[in-house]
Amino acid sequence: MAEFIDLVLLGMLAITALRVIFLKDLFAVVMLFGIYSFLSALIFVNLDAVDVAFTEASVGAGISTVLMLGTLALTGRKEKTSNHPALLPLLVVGVTGAALIYGSLDMPPFGDPNNPAHQHVAPRYIEDSPQEIGLPNMVTSVLASYRAFDTLGETAVVFAAAIGVLSLLGLPKRDRQAIESGLKSHLVLRVVAKLIIPLTILFALYVQFHGDYGPGGGFQAGVIAAAAIILYALVLGLPMATHVVQPALLKTLAALGVLIYAGTGVANFFLGGNFLDYNMLASDPVAGQHIGIILIELGVGITVFAAMLSIFYAFAGQAERTNIQ
C-alpha cells in the first residue's frame, strides 16, 4: 500500500515538474512549486520522515513560496520566451541523468532492511539513543546531540542568509508613515487572522518544546512563529507588523540565537567536556543531554524566527518601496 501511495505521489510530482518546465506564467510556476513542495512533504510522511515533512511543508511550501511571490511582485509574472536553443542544457541533463541511472543500478534495493545504511551507524541511534539521550524522538537526538555540529552549521547558514538578504535589500524603516494594506479592509480576513495568529504562536511554542517527543523542534517552531507575524503583516500591513516586532530587534535576536547555541557548546569546555558535549551540563548525563538540547533548540528557534522574519521584512519592504514610487 505504502509503495502504491508512493508511486501515485511520485507520478503527480513528475507531472508538476513537467508543467513547471513549460509554463511561462511565473505566478503559476511558483504555485506549482508550492504544490511540488507539498507533494514531496507527503512523500516524506509516507517514507516515515515526519520531521522532514513538517519542515518541507513549512519551508518549501511556506516560506520559499512566500518569498518567491514577493519577488514576483517586484519583477513581473511573465517569463519572456527564450530564444536561445535548449540543446546544450538537454545534453547536459541527459548525460547527468544517464550517469545517475547507471549509478542506481548497483544501489541497494529500496526499503530493504538489510541495506548497508541500516546496518551501520544508524542502529546505534535507534537502539541506544533513547537511553543515552533520553528522548523518544531519535531524529531530535541525532540532530541535537550526535550531529549537533551539523545543526550549528545549519543555524549559521540561516544567519548567513539573513545577513545576505539584509545587506542586499536592507530592513524597512520602522517609523515610515503607515500605508493602508489592501487586505486590511477585508473584515473576514482580519477577524480570522486575529483568531489564528495567537493560536499559531501557541503552536510554535508547542513545537519548540515538544520536539523532543514528537515531530518538531527549534527550526520548525521558528518558522511557524515567523509565519504568524508574516500573516499579521500581510493582513494589517508591514508598518503595523514592524511596530509589533521591530526590525532592529530581529537583528539582535538572530545574533543571540547563534550565540546561545555556540555558547552552550563552549560552556562545556569549562566543565571538562568537548564542544557540544552536554553530558557535563548536569550531574546525570541524560539530564545534561536534556538541558543541552533544550538550550540549543532554543538558539535555533530564536535565530530561525528572527532570520526568517527579517528576510520577509526585507522583501516586503522592497515591495512597499515600489508601491510608494
Binding site: A99, L100, Y102, G103, S104, L105, D106, M107, P108, N115, P116, A117, H118, Q119, H120, V121, A122, R124, Y125, S145, Y146, R147, A148, F149, D150, L152, G153, E154, A156, V157, F159, A160, A161, I163, G164, L166, S167, L168, G170, K251, T252, A254, A255, L256, V258, L259, A262, G263, G265, V266, F269, G273, N274, F275, L276, D277, Y278, N279
Partner: protein, 501 residues
C-alpha cells in the same frame, strides 16, 4: 586547558564572532574585533600545524560522541597547512579591508561585511577541519552563502549578476556533492571519512560508488573553477569589492582544491580514483587546457582584476595538474602551490585594490604612470607579479620547480614542457601591466588627479605578503617540508591512516 580544543576553535571563534560583530554595531569596533579573532584563529592554526607535523593527526569528537556516530574534527598536516593559509590571509585581508571598504562599500553595511567575512572564514575552516562528509557540505554552504553576500556588496551593479551566477553554479556544485555523498552513504551506511575510506575499499567497480565519485568530482570542480566549469569565477572576482577578491582568490578555490584532494586521497584512495576510474587523464587534460586557455584569456583583458581572475583559473590548473600526476611528489607540488599562490594572488589583488582606492578604476589605463605616483604599491605588484611568472627567488619559482620535477619524475616530458610554456603567458599579462605602470605616461584617468600612495593599513598587509613571497622563495624549508609531510600523509595506505588516532 584550551589546547585540547584547538581543532574546533578556528571554526567556533569566527562563528561566534560573526553575531557579536552584528551586536557591536559600530564599524570600527567590528573591524577591530574581527581582525583580532581572525588573528587568534591564525595562531591556533599555526599551533595545529606544528602539532600535526609532530604527531600526525588530531582527532576531536564533537559532543563527545566517538566517530562514526558523532561528527569528528580530523586535522592532519594537509588541513592544518591550508588552515594556516586561510586564517593568515583572512587576518591580513581584514587589516587591509578597513580602508578599502570605506570607499567600496556603503557605510551602513560595514558590520554586515565583517560578519559575512567571519562566516565565510567559519565555513572554510570547517571544511578544512571536518572529518565528516556531510558536515563538509554544511560548511561548504556556509562559506558559499557568505561568499555570495560578500561579492554582492560592491557598488558596481555588475557584481549582482556575477553573484547570482556564482550562486547558481555554486548551488549546483553543492547539490552534486550532496548527491555523491548520498550515494556513498547508501552503499556504506556511514559519513565519517575514515570509516568511508575503509568501507569503500571493499568495493571494486561498483556502479553506485563510481557514480558517487563522479558527482563529487564534478561538484567540487565547479567550486574550484576547474576549466570548463570556471565561468562563474572571472565575473565574481572582477566585480567583488577588492578586499573580497583578495580573500576569495587566495582562499576559497584553494579550499575547494583541498576538498578534491581529501575525497580523492583520503576517502576513495588514489588507486581507486586513478587506476580504476582513470580520472588522472581527465584531470590532466583539463588542467593543461585550463593553463593555456585561461592564461591566454588573461593576456587580452583590459580590466586588471579580470586579468588576475583568469590567471587564478590558470593557476588552479597547475594545482590540479600536480594532483593528477598520481605521485607523492605531484601532490606535494599541488599543495605547495596552494600555499604559494595564496601569497601571490593575495598581494596582487591587494595592490589592485589600493589602485582602485586612489584612482577609482582598475582598467589597465589607470595603471599608467603609477610606478611614480604609487611606488610602494606598484613595487608590491611587481614583485608578486614576478612570483606568478615564476622568477627565481620568489615563491612562484619554488612551486614551478617542484611541479615540473614531479612531472619529469613520472617521465611526463611533454607535460613538464607545457607547464613551462604556460608560464610564459604570465610574462605577457603581468608584463603589460608593469610596462603601463613604469614606462607609460599617465592616462586621462590618472592625469588630472593628485594620486597619493596607498594608506599604511593597506600597504602593511600587502607588503607582508610580498615579503612572504620572497621569504618562501629563498627559505623554502618550512613550506616545502609541510607540503611534503602533508602529501606523504595523504598518499600513505588508507589502512594506516585509520589506525593513527
Amino acid at each position: 586547558m584550551l589546547e585540547q580544543h584547538f581543532p574546533v576553535l578556528p571554526i567556533v571563534l569566527p562563528l561566534m564572532a560573526a553575531p557579536i560583530c552584528i551586536l557591536l554595531g559600530r564599524s570600527q569596533l567590528a573591524w577591530l574585533f574581527a581582525t583580532l579573532i581572525s588573528g587568534l584563529s591564525f595562531f591556533i592554526s599555526v599551533a595545529l600545524l606544528l602539532t600535526t607535523l609532530d604527531q600526525g593527526v588530531l582527532s576531536y569528537a564533537l559532543g563527545g560522541w566517538e566517530p562514526p556516530w558523532g561528527i569528528e574534527m580530523r586535522i592532519d598536516v594537509a588541513s592544518a597547512l591550508v588552515l594556516c593559509v586561510v586564517t593568515g590571509i583572512s587576518s591580513l585581508v581584514l587589516v587591509y579591508a578597513k580602508e578599502s571598504i570605506a570607499k567600496e562599500i556603503d557605510r551602513s553595511q560595514h558590520t554586515l561585511f565583517y560578519a559575512a567575512h567571519l562566516l565565510c572564514l567559519t565555513g572554510l575552516s570547517g571544511i578544512l577541519s571536518t572529518g565528516d562528509a556531510f558536515n563538509l557540505f554544511v560548511f561548504l554552504e556556509i562559506s558559499s552563502l557568505a561568499t555570495y553576500t560578500l561579492v554582492s556588496l560592491a557598488s558596481d551593479k555588475r557584481c549582482l549578476t556575477a553573484a547570482f551566477r556564482y550562486l547558481v553554479m555554486g548551488t549546483i556544485g553543492a547539490t552534486f556533492i550532496l548527491i555523491g555523498v548520498g550515494m556513498m552513504y547508501m552503499k556504506t551506511g556511514t559519513l565519517n571519512m575514515i570509516d568511508l575510506a575503509a568501507r569503500i575499499a571493499e568495493f571494486d567497480g561498483n556502479r553506485t560508488v563510481n557514480t558517487g565519485l563522479a558527482f563529487i568530482l564534478v561538484g567540487v570542480s565547479i567550486k574550484l573553477a576547474l576549466f570548463p566549469l570556471h565561468m562563474w569565477l572571472p565575473p565574481a572576482y572582477t566585480h567583488a569589492p577588492s578586499a573580497v577578491s583578495a580573500f576569495l582568490a587566495s582562499t576559497a578555490t584553494k579550499v575547494a582544491v583541498y576538498v578534491m584532494v581529501r575525497f580523492i586521497f583520503t576517502i576513495y584512495g588514489a588507486e581507486y580514483v586513478f587506476y580504476t576510474m582513470s580520472m588522472d587523464i581527465i584531470l590532466l587534460v583539463l588542467a593543461i587546457v585550463a593553463i593555456f586557455k585561461c592564461s591566454f584569456m588573461a593576456t587580452v583583458q583590459s580590466n586588471v582584476k579580470t586579468v588576475l581572475a583568469f590567471s587564478s583559473v590558470a593557476q588552479i590548473g597547475y594545482m590540479i595538474l600536480g594532483i593528477s600526476l598520481v605521485s607523492s611528489a605531484g601532490l606535494m607540488a599541488g599543495l605547495l602551490h596552494i600555499f604559494n599562490h595564496a601569497l601571490m594572488k593575495g598581494a596582487l589583488f591587494m595592490a589592485v585594490g589600493a589602485v582602485f582606492l586612489r584612482t577609482g578604476s582598475v582598467d589597465i589605463k589607470a595603471f599608467q604612470g603609477l610606478g611614480r605616483q604609487m611606488p610602494l604599491t606598484m613595487a608590491a605588484f611587481a614583485i608578486a607579479g614576478l612570483s606568478i611568472i615564476g622568477v627565481p627567488l620568489t615563491a612562484g619559482f619554488v612551486s614551478k620547480w617542484y611541479l615540473v620535477t614531479a612531472a619529469l619524475e613520472q617521465q611526463h616530458w611533454i607535460i613538464a614542457f607545457l607547464v613551462l610554456i604556460g608560464s610564459l603567458f604570465a610574462i605577457v599579462y603581468i608584463g603589460r601591466i608593469l610596462e603601463a605602470a613604469y614606462f607609460q605616461k599617465p592616462s586621462e584617468i590618472t592625469e588630472e588627479k593628485d594620486i597619493k600612495e596607498a594608506p599604511l593599513l593597506m600597504l602593511v598587509p600587502m607588503w607582508i605578503l610580498v615579503l612572504a613571497n620572497i621569504y618562501f622563495g629563498i627559505e623554502t624549508s618550512v613550506s616545502v617540508s609541510a607540503a611534503d609531510a602533508a602529501s606523504q600523509w595523504l598518499t600513505q595506505p588508507t589502512a594506516t591512516m585509520g589506525a593513527a588516532q
